[in-house]
Amino acid sequence: MERRTHTLLSLVIAAVVISLLSIYWRSIVQKDFYIVESETAELEQVESL
């Protein structure tokens, strides 16, 4: 395999791994997401707005 192709693929794999770790950090550790109690409740809320 060409050297620069090898480097590019290695970078992509490293980026994917870092991205997966960040996803873990955001969702499991930080719990940085909202929870909608009910889809219908949310719809009603949106309509009333």
């Binding site: 980026a15 991205s19 997966l20 997401f33 929870i35």
Partner: protein, 545 residues
């Protein structure tokens, strides 16, 4: 239900991470069949031909798909919203990578290469925003607690599908271009079948997830996963029909195991509402596999019978040809020997008043006839060796003397070409038990003679050393041996590509006979060369008596 302050989805935590009341039988069926059948196919292909680029790419594609399936299983089973957000985000990140791997596989299978650097850079540029934004709210901002489905952001609901469509179209474009350029009908059929199978997988996979994203019906979305077994079916057919991936798999065995897996996975269907459709799908798959299996086995049996018949015919024809060759050589040898005696008598002055011109002509004719006798003898010896009718004497003789005699005899022939024969023999006893004439003629003379013939200028080094075994070597700086020629060197009629241009009178039996004779004396012979123009070295090892 809550853990700490975090509410939980309205079902119990899963057992063994994947057994959950939120997952239904179809779900397990759709996930387990690809894992089992795909794993089986990839393991078999890797076992058969681990160095193939296409099989390696196929393994990567399956590994990423398996990771996707496993994460999807865990995601559906869990009742923890944070775990769902983690797994869902990861699934969105991994999904386009399945398509990228499929594109790599297409390049490897159809063009036997990987995408170029530029093409890989374009692929990276497409995937980069996804990798960067996957851990943000642009991917999965939140979750609906009542069914633990994610609220998908732009990345999950649009961008990832955009990449998938782009990669699928890329494959389609490459395939159409390649199909139009391919002139061989079999190759074209192979590429068409492969493309159809791969696209069936990619399109059904994306469609399933698109249905889930835009309708919220994640049950129907599961049918999208059935594209993978369909693709595996196409791959199995390609292997069976065209020996694709350069593997000669016992297709029958694989199909039997694949069918068993399908039937076994029916055990996961427990509820009545899904059993009918699943049974129909499984039955159809088993029928299709069974048809291919029966057809394949029948063809194999027919081929085997044909091969056996051809083998018998070939054996008879070979024997007839060998007998004929033996007869002709024997007859020709008789005529040549008589002529040899006649010419020898004239050349050596047995008749009185022979004009000098006639003597000179007879001398030339004698040399030619003797060459002819040697050639015929070589063919006869090869024929005897093949028939197993070669007999050997078992006398003790001095191998060193034999080498020195022959080196001295060959010196004039070498000098004619301006070559030097450098014979160096170490101290020691070189007594050998065997057939002196045959060793002299077919081993020592043959190797030195070859070295002279195939060396345009320089020297021929003849070495003899002792130790546990007697080691005789002839080294030249001649035309050398290519790795391709090296394979056929000691076989019957095993001419090198270039050697025949230099030595047009060669029968091609010389080294074959040498090898057989050395083997009959419990020794071995081999050649060493760094390639064309790099010279060669022939080594003989024989046990000392």
């Amino acid at each position: 239900m809550t853990i700490g302050t975090m509410p939980l989805c309205p079902w119990e935590a899963p057992t063994f991470f994947i057994i959950s009341e939120n997952a239904y039988p179809l779900f397990y069926y759709a996930h387990f069949v690809p894992i089992l059948v795909g794993g089986l196919l990839v393991a078999t292909l890797l076992w058969q031909n681990p160095r193939s680029l296409a099989i390696r790419m196929l393994s990567i594609l399956f590994a990423i798909s398996m990771a996707w399936i496993l994460l999807d299983l865990l995601m559906t089973a869990t009742n923890r919203p944070d775990a769902v957000v983690f797994l869902w985000s990861a699934v969105v990140l991994i999904e386009p990578l399945v398509y990228a791997a499929a594109l790599f596989l297409f390049y490897a299978f159809s063009l036997n290469k990987l995408p170029s650097f530029i093409e890989q850079a374009v692929m990276t540029a497409l995937v980069a925003p996804l990798i960067v934004l996957a851990p943000t709210a642009y991917n999965i901002p939140g979750i609906y607690i009542e069914d633990c489905n994610a609220d998908e952001g732009f990345i999950a609901s649009h961008y990832s599908y955009g990449i998938e469509i782009a990669f699928t179209l890329w494959i389609l474009f490459l395939a159409i271009r390649l199909i139009m350029r391919t002139t061989d009908a079999t190759d074209r059929r192979k590429i068409i079948l492969f493309t159809v199978g791969l696209l069936a997988f990619l399109v059904s996979f994306a469609s399933g997830n698109l249905i889930g994203t835009f309708t919220g019906d994640w049950v129907t979305a599961q049918y999208g996963l059935f594209g993978l077994p369909v693709f595996i079916g196409f791959l199995g057919y390609l292997v069976a029909r065209f020996q694709a991936f350069d593997v000669k798999v016992l297709t029958a065995q694989i199909l039997v195991v694949a069918t068993s897996v399908l039937v076994f996975s029916l055990l996961f269907i427990r509820t009545i509402e899904n059993i009918r459709i699943i049974t129909v799908i499984t039955f159809a798959l088993i029928c299709a596999l069974g048809y291919v299996l029966v057809k394949n086995v029948r063809r194999e049996i027919e081929q085997r019978i044909l091969i056996q018949k051809q083998e018998q015919e070939l054996e008879v024809a070979n024997k007839q040809q060998e007998n004929l060759l033996h007869f002709i050589s024997h007859e020709v040898k008789g005529y040549l020997t008589e002529s040899e005696a006649g010419f020898a008598a004239i050349a050596e002055g047995d008749y009185e008043h022979t004009p000098p011109k006639l003597k000179e002509m007879a001398g030339g004719a004698l040399a030619t006839v003797r060459r002819g006798v040697r050639t015929v003898m070589e063919i006869l010896d090869a024929s005897n060796l093949k028939k197993g009718t070669m007999s050997y004497r078992k006398d003790t003789f001095d191998f060193k003397k034999a080498v020195l005699d022959i080196a001295a005899e060959m010196k004039p022939a070498a000098a004619e070409k301006g070559l030097l024969i450098d014979a160096t023999i170490g101290e020691g006893l070189y007594m050998l038990k065997g057939d002196e004439d045959k060793i002299r003629q077919h081993v020592i003379r043959n190797l030195i003679d070859n070295a002279i013939k195939y060396t345009p200028a320089g020297a021929v080094e003849v070495r003899l050393t002792d130790g546990d075994k007697l080691r005789f070597s002839v080294k030249d700086n001649g035309i050398g041996i290519t790795p391709e020629d090296m394979k056929n060197l000691f076989t019957e009629g095993g001419h090198g590509k270039d050697s025949i241009k230099i030595n047009v009178h060669s029968t091609g039996y010389g080294l074959f006979i040498a090898k057989e004779i050395v083997a009959a004396h419990g020794g071995k012979i081999w050649a060493e060369s760094d390639g064309t123009g790099m010279g060669s070295k022939f080594v003989v090892e024989l046990p000392i008596s």
